[in-house]
Amino acid sequence: MALALILTAMTQWRARPAFARQAYAANVLMLVAGFAMMGLQITGYFVA
């Protein structure tokens, strides 16, 4: 069920003209989050 909903939503998103820009931005956001969490964990390792 969940996968079907996600597939539908993703397909519709990909059909939109702004998809390329949004997808790129979303990827950059994921990178930001990933780097931030990585930094947090590394800091936590050195603090403890």
Partner: protein, 285 residues
């Protein structure tokens, strides 16, 4: 001689293949340089977020001062403090049985007469408790044995002094149960250093009401008036930077209901609680 690799229909894996777009589906154009730049930008943004907001809020690390301005450093400091306290509690819980056992053993080895004296003290305490109205067992026998263990090694010298000390120390917790002000059953007072917290509970039955008044003696404290026990929890009231409060507390269930105070100021604060009404016991550390 034919080269079998020169078949134009099947390109090698690494070669760029013409992208066959399915209808309605687009590819995302990206160049290598653009991707590297985006990655660096993302790493930079992550670093900024981390240093300005996340590290202050999580660890109280605030190299820029922004965390102090936004109050996030305080949050991080509190988190670190709570973590340290939890760890200290865990360690104390782990160490306690061993220490208590050692103390009792030392007492047995060093001075059997002190044990006899302790029995006598226990009896006295029970008698005092009966008069005062507090249930016996308020003073844990182990807690009584612990202070006695220190003077025990020098018990061979003046025998009366350590025993007297033990009596004084054992009797010390008792005054909390003595009504200090007319109209109130109990009055307790604590001085909290900056960052310190304390919990005082009233053992109450469901539906019973107790009156209370507490004051931070001119300063302010954060408080959390709550109840817990038997797997139940309730939060009556919370407050930050409150100078004093008075009112009545109706127990939502039978168990312990009371206050947690924490001093978030820079200076020591004395918290005084007076309680009266329908409760069976004031449980204070």
């Amino acid at each position: 001689m034919t080269n079998r690799f020169e078949t134009p229909k099947a390109p090698l894996r690494a070669e760029p293949r013409p992208y066959v777009a399915t209808p309605n589906v687009q590819s995302v154009p990206a160049t290598a340089a653009g991707l590297i730049r985006s990655t660096l930008v993302a790493a930079g943004a992550a670093g900024v977020i981390l240093v300005l907001f996340w590290l202050p809020a999580e660890y109280g690390i605030d190299p820029t001062g922004v965390g102090h301005l936004t109050g996030l450093t305080e949050m991080g400091d509190i988190k670190q403090q709570l973590a340290a306290e939890a760890e200290a509690d865990a360690q104390a819980a782990a160490a306690e049985p061993v220490v208590a056992g050692a103390a009792v053993l030392a007492t047995v080895d060093a001075a059997p007469e002190i044990l006899a004296r302790l029995d006598w003290i226990d009896a006295q305490l029970a008698a005092i408790s009966a008069v005062v109205g507090a249930p016996p067992g308020l003073t844990d026998p182990v807690a009584v044995a612990a202070p006695a263990a220190e003077p025990a090694p020098e018990a061979a010298a003046p025998a009366s002094d350590p025993v007297e000390a033990a009596v004084a120390e054992a009797a010390a917790p008792e005054p909390t149960a003595v009504p200090a002000t007319p109209g109130w059953r109990d009055e307790v007072s604590y001085t909290l250093n900056p960052g310190e917290g304390i919990e005082v509970k009233l053992a109450m039955e469901e539906g019973k009401t107790a009156r209370f008044f507490w004051t931070a003696s001119g300063s302010v404290v954060n408080f959390d008036l709550h109840g817990d026990g038997s797997g139940q929890n309730i939060r009556y009231e919370q407050g930050r930077a409150v100078p004093e409060a008075a009112g009545s507390l109706t127990a939502a269930f039978t168990r312990n209901h009371g206050w947690f105070w924490r001093n978030r100021t820079e200076a020591p604060v004395t918290v005084t609680l007076r309680a009266g009404g329908d409760y069976s016991e004031l449980k204070a550390p």
